[in-house]
Amino acid sequence: MSMDELNIKDNTSLFKEERYVQQRENKKPFEAPCSEQETAEALAYSKSAEYMEKNFSRQNVVINPHKACQPLGSVMAALGFEKTLPFVHGSQGCNAYFRSHLSRHFKEPTPSVSTSMTEDAAVFGGMNNLIDGLENSVALYKPEMVAICTTCMAEVIGDDLNSFIGNARIKGVISEEYPVAYCNTPSFVGSHITGYDAMIKGILSYLYTRSGTRGKPGSGAESGEKLNVMLGFEPYTGNFAELRKILGAFDTKYTILGDHSGNYDSPATGEYEYYYGGTKLADVPQAANALATLSLQKYTLKKTQEYISGTWNQQLAALSTPLGIKGTDTLLDTISELTGLPIPAILTEERGRVVDALMDSHPYLHGKRVALVGDPDLLIGLIGFCLETGMEPVHIVCSNGDVDYNEVKFKDEAEALLAASPYGSEATVHVGKDLWHMRSLLLNDQVDLAIGSSHLKFAAKDAEVPLVRVGFPIFDRHHMHRYPIIGYQGTLNLLSLIVNTILQQLDDHNSGFNFELVR
């Protein structure tokens, strides 16, 4: 055999070969499968209205939920601070999962350690694990701060982080001064977004309290001019860059509170460091003196916002993810109001260009029925964007959507937003529902497009709806998180993604006379 004849097939084509098709058939008798008829009937039934009704009446089983657990968010939050090591107190498998999950999305390393609690810790508590863990992790990974969160195990047995950390200091494992922030994040409460919030609040309050300073909002020659900005549980590193661009154009000073973009967008230089970028620890107590705080995920950052407007007594503006033209307008208006600075001409120009692009594409978007899945703040932004393009949101599923901010619940806000537009009249917002509910919705009330994370791909495929991947996690596409989806530039990116998906559909489905050159 000549070398050129080597035909190497991998799983994408190998198993389509006749010998593997045959193998599949030969294996069936041992599987004792349901008959083809039974399977076909069950499939048809699963797509029926009757099934949908049953699906929506289930009370307890959760199928394909669109949420992760609290400590995952805490790990991401901890990585937003300079040389900070995320430290997970509980069973070590959790930490392995957080590291894999985040790495699969960002295609980047996730440094994080665990106390590796096992049966004996379940009985006697995890104090020794925590003390040893602090000693080992500080020696090996040389963080400037450790940020501890709990898992469900540590919470169920009632481990007391505050006293454990105190005992580690008494034992001399870490010095009295060494910063160790912490938060409680049982996995049976909230979701990844509440865990993110808990850790941000934990770190801000800890660093502020230990600094001994007392914030005077809007005072101080230097810090008083600064604006604090929080992006929240942000799966797009590109959004940090876009926000920096916008704030730079305003020429305002600012502090991003929780900036994990450095850790999740580090260069390949031949050397690996554990920590890249992040909010400087010294900037945190100073942040209490800032002019104001701008939060871009109000439902995610609920407790942090309460803390900032309460303890720091600081002016707070809380928005949802600023997507679309109007969402970005609101962002710029808010920055302008908070800083007293005018909206930069360069951004107004950019706005005009993106509006122009929207005009070019609107015929392909108008009236397109879409299904949306995501975290609350992302969904508010996405709904707004869809409505301003003439797209019609139809099914909106938010597994972790039972969050309120200032007594406005996510669902109420989403419904009000939809009710205010003729394009929102067909929409239904489903909070606390999962992607198996979404499957029924997609199959029983067809849409043109689904927007959501990679996990939505199964339901979208069953309903033969193209999926535009937006949100977290995106496992099956590369580099999406590097492109911003916020601001005018982000709007353009989102528009390009969506309109080109629709145009690709046209090419896929059209042939002959309407396989057209110009669109």
């Binding site: 399977t39 199928i63 106390t115 020696a139």
Partner: protein, 485 residues
């Protein structure tokens, strides 16, 4: 640094100096540099299957990951409840690439996340009542599900829920096999105990529950192949071509019935011995079924294994085996002719689960590559004893190596290829070191059998020889002379 026993011993000592005293003392026990004595008599000094140090970046996961993620999850026609809070099920959802035929959500539930999504009230009042309702709802939602397993997460064991009682009661009510699996993540020190617990559950609740219409002299089981990227299919095709009849495939693309009839086999063929040795041991004792560990990574090991398997059968099978090898050998030789020159003498460091760090050695060697360090995440003593004779003197052997240790070894050993998991992968990309994700074949595969070796060879060449590594530094890679090697 290459394969010098003393130098490498010194290297390990130097690396471990970074640890505080207590942890250093522990970590020292997890390393061994292979010397003549260790290789010949496989005197394994490496401590394994004991607790990881807190605060280090251990590569290990937990018992739940071992049971749901590895053993039970791939059984395609059963619904596996991730019983407890939402996270564990979410993180293990569809990430291990256990391919399975069937219609997802209808008669195949592998790439689904079915959870009880514990809330605070479930912790306070217990989740048993909810579990019973969940089981009823599962039969409503998935009428073709052949059975249910309950994969316990940490809180279930801590709050003392009686999932066994619920399973028993509901199994009767729903007339379905329902298997409680006590695989709470805090049990044991790694995934390994999860495998054991999962195997015990198969033994106690499933094995021997059904009969085969007819049995034959060539009936065998594939045990411990999880069909990552289609591995089990690429293995099965060889066994069948040889004239054997595979009656059960565990657990990749496996079904409940296959677990139930497996006791009728004449021979158990076990690939991942680490995760399913409990099963073959039990079946040998309970049913008198002999077993054989085989290795389908790389042609050399595959030929050896095929012949060892055939030797347990009659002349017909042995003849078939030889004919088959004769058919495939030219193809395998061509693969080696093509790729070996590109990979000759490249150094490899492996740190994978509990088996592949030794099982894949032959495949690398077929391509002319040299293993210079090899370690496991969650292996036991016997795995090290089996690995040592396969290694050259001076090779560093390690158990549960931490992220820090692997990084230091890579920096100091002139490694050309690292094979490990997704948690490690991107670290090596930063370092500019060729890396292959060897838990799920880096989204490629299969790697088993002859069809698999072609993909393996192509992937290793692609990885080691990609021009991207030369882009890391503007100066390009230093010439070996300049590096002083």
């Amino acid at each position: 640094m290459g394969l010098n026993i003393e130098e490498n011993q010194k290297l390990v000592e130097e690396i471990l100096e970074a640890y505080p005293k207590k942890a250093r003392k522990d970590r020292e026990k997890h390393f061994q540099v292979a010397d003549e004595k260790a290789i010949d008599c496989s005197t394994c000094a490496v401590k394994s299957n004991i607790k990881s140090r807190p605060g280090v970046m251990t590569p290990r996961g937990c018992a739940y990951a071992g049971s749901k993620g590895v053993v039970w999850g791939p059984i395609k026609d059963m619904v596996h409840i991730s019983h407890g809070p939402v996270g564990c099920g979410q993180y293990s959802w569809g990430t291990r690439r256990n391919f399975a035929n069937g219609t997802l959500g209808i008669d195949n539930f592998t790439a689904m996340q079915i959870t009880s999504d514990f809330q605070e009230t479930d912790i306070v009042f217990g989740g048993d009542k909810k579990l019973a309702v969940i089981m009823r709802e599962i039969t409503e939602m998935f009428p073709l599900a052949k059975g249910i397993s309950v994969q316990s997460e940490c809180p279930v064991g801590l709050i003392g829920d009686d999932i066994e009682a619920v399973s028993k009661k509901m199994s009767k009510e729903l007339e379905l096999p329902i298997v409680p699996v006590r695989c709470e993540g805090f049990r044991g020190v790694s995934q390994s105990l999860g495998h054991h617990i999962a195997n015990d559950a198969i033994r106690d609740f499933v094995l021997g529950r059904a009969e085969l219409a007819e049995t034959g002299p060539y009936d065998v089981n594939i045990i411990g192949d999880y069909n990552i990227g289609g591995d089990a299919w690429a293995s099965r095709i060889l066994l069948e071509e040889m004239g054997l009849r595979v009656i059960a495939q565990w657990s990749g693309d496996g079904s409940l019935n296959e677990l139930e009839v497996a006791h009728k086999a004449k021979l158990n063929l076990i690939h991942c011995h680490r995760s399913m040795n409990y099963m073959v041991d039990h079946m040998e004792k309970a049913y008198g079924i002999p077993w054989l560990e085989y290795n389908f990574f790389g042609p050399t090991k595959t030929y050896e294994s095929l012949r060892a398997i055939a030797a347990l059968f009659d002349d017909t099978i042995q003849e078939n085996c030889e004919q088959m090898i004769a058919r495939y050998k030219p193809v395998m030789d061509a693969v080696i002719r093509k790729y070996r020159p590109r990979l000759e003498n490249k150094t490899v460091m492996l740190m994978i689960g509990g088996l592949r760090s030794r099982h894949t050695i032959g495949a690398y060697e077929d391509l002319g590559m040299d293993i210079v360090a090899s370690g496991y995440e969650f292996a036991h003593k016997d795995d090290f004893e089996k690995m040592l004779p396969m290694l050259a003197e001076g090779t560093i052997v390690m158990d549960d190596p931490t992220a820090y240790e692997l990084e230091e070894l890579t920096k100091k050993m002139n490694i050309d290829l690292v094979g490990s998991g997704v948690k490690e992968k991107y670290v090596y990309h930063k370092m500019g070191v060729p890396f292959r994700q060897m838990h799920s074949w880096d989204y490629s595969g299969p790697y088993h059998g002859f069809d698999g070796f072609k993909v393996f060879a192509k992937d290793m060449d692609m990885t080691v020889n990609s021009p991207v590594w030369d882009l890391v530094s503007r100066q390009g890679k230093m010439e070996p002379e300049e590096a002083g090697v």
